[in-house]
């Protein structure tokens, strides 16, 4: 009886560990970060058209929201946009947290789309920040036009 319990325990534990390991490998990407992609269940944010039926293999186009991953520095959640079967955009949805340290770490720059800043391009501005222009380059710059208008 004892033998059976011991052997059974070893077998059960080993299989549980192997299952866990396998599950872990499938979500681990090259750089060690892990994403959970609920493949097949697109979220409400789905952008882009769904891939046509020929694309059987590979992920379906759309935007996938990853689960919120709690880290030592706060919660991190990303959305992945897949176009033509490959990742075209990774957007951070949740990077901040209440405690100071989390804010510091999750304050990291994340990719944003040009379309996200598009609206602000048309705003009325009085000053332009740009890489230092020489006196000569200034004449062709937007700042020079603004200065003339404001003078």
């Amino acid at each position: 009886m004892r033998t059976r319990a011991i052997l059974g325990s070893i077998l059960a534990s080993a299989s549980v560990l192997i299952i866990g390991y396998q599950a872990g490998v499938s979500v681990t990407t090259g750089d060690g970060t892990s994403l959970t992609l609920p493949v097949g269940s697109t979220t409400s944010e789905s952008v882009g058209t769904t891939a046509d039926s020929r694309a059987i293999s590979g992920p379906t186009d759309g935007t996938y929201t990853g689960s919120s991953i709690s880290t030592r520095f706060g919660n991190v959640q990303v959305a992945v946009t897949i176009t033509s079967g490959s990742i075209s955009e990774v957007t951070a949805l949740q990077l901040t947290d209440a405690d100071g340290r989390s804010v510091q770490i999750s304050n990291r720059a994340a990719p944003i789309l040009r379309s996200e800043v598009l609206a602000s391009q048309s705003a009325q501005v009085s000053n332009v920040s740009g890489a230092t222009y020489t006196t000569r380059a200034y004449l062709g710059s937007l700042q020079s036009a603004l200065d003339q208008a404001g003078a």
């Binding site: 304050n107 720059a109 705003a123 000053n127 332009v128 890489a131 230092t132 222009y133 020489t134 200034y138």
Partner: protein, 257 residues
């Protein structure tokens, strides 16, 4: 009113109420002083004389030594991504003195009691502490809207954002417009970011960190956003954008205009 003047190899654009126009003399004096002392283009500047060996560092003025030591502190803090030395070893305080000049000019205006002002020197902008403040006593509490130039089209904006107290300063560095004006530790690789804008509470921090990120690439970007309370937006060589959450939230939204 707006006042435009050439200084430090670029153009300064100062905006302030007309009744404070008399203060412009003081501001220009500050700029001239900085240029006279630190320009490597003026053979007679104090810094040129040190570079030539005509003047020993031990004989240098207090203000030069103070700028130099501040720059050295920044070199340590940025892990060498910002450096007050040219590859040939000459001291080049260009990366910090312009921001220091803006800082001094701003302090001068605030000390004189000028309620609302902005100083833009070669694309590095500092606004008065009252910008965006909700103080009833000040006549205008509108935050200043600053545009960020599109590195691929100097006459167009990449985006625009609001500078409001305490985020009063924005500086942009690039690797395109004046060639590689930022030393990148002897690397011959093209810079990862063609343009980096940093929004910070003070203009020296903004300017130095923008320079450091252009020099250090992604690692410097992560390091800066981890360790400093700043907002950053970068444009890489392919034109893709990265921005910190804080910057995204200060973007001017369409409905506001």
């Amino acid at each position: 009113m707006r006042h435009v003047a050439q200084t430090m190899g670029t153009v300064a654009s100062i905006e302030l109420p007309s009744e404070w126009a008399s203060e412009l003399n003081a501001v220009e004096r500050i700029f001239r002083e900085v240029e006279r002392r630190f320009s490597l283009y003026l053979p007679g500047s104090e810094l040129s004389m040190i570079a030539d060996g005509r003047l020993s560092l031990s004989e240098a003025s207090d203000s030069l030594l103070s700028s130099y030591s501040r720059a050295l502190e920044w070199r340590t803090a940025t892990g060498g991504n910002f450096s007050p030395h040219r590859p040939d070893g000459a001291i080049d305080l260009n990366g910090i003195v312009k921001a220091e000049a803006i800082e001094q000019a701003g302090a001068q205006l605030t000390a004189a009691g000028c309620p609302q002002w902005s100083i833009n020197v070669g694309g590095d902008i500092l606004v008065s502490p009252t910008s965006g403040a909700t103080n009833v006593a000040t006549s205008s509490s509108e935050p200043l809207r600053a545009g960020i130039a599109d590195p691929h089209n100097p006459t167009a904006l990449l985006c625009s954002l609001e500078l409001r107290h305490p985020r009063r300063a924005i500086a942009t560095s690039g690797s395109a417009q004046r060639g590689d004006h930022i030393w990148r530790g002897g690397s011959t690789e093209p810079a990862q970011f063609v343009q980096v804008s940093v929004v910070a509470n003070d203009i020296v921090t903004a300017d130095v960190l923008a320079t450091a990120i252009v020099a250090g690439g992604q690692d410097a970007l992560d390091g800066v956003s981890d360790r400093w309370d700043v907002d950053v937006i970068t444009v890489d060589r392919l034109g893709a954008l990265h921005a910190t959450p804080g910057l995204q939230s200060s973007l001017v939204r369409a409905q506001i205009t």
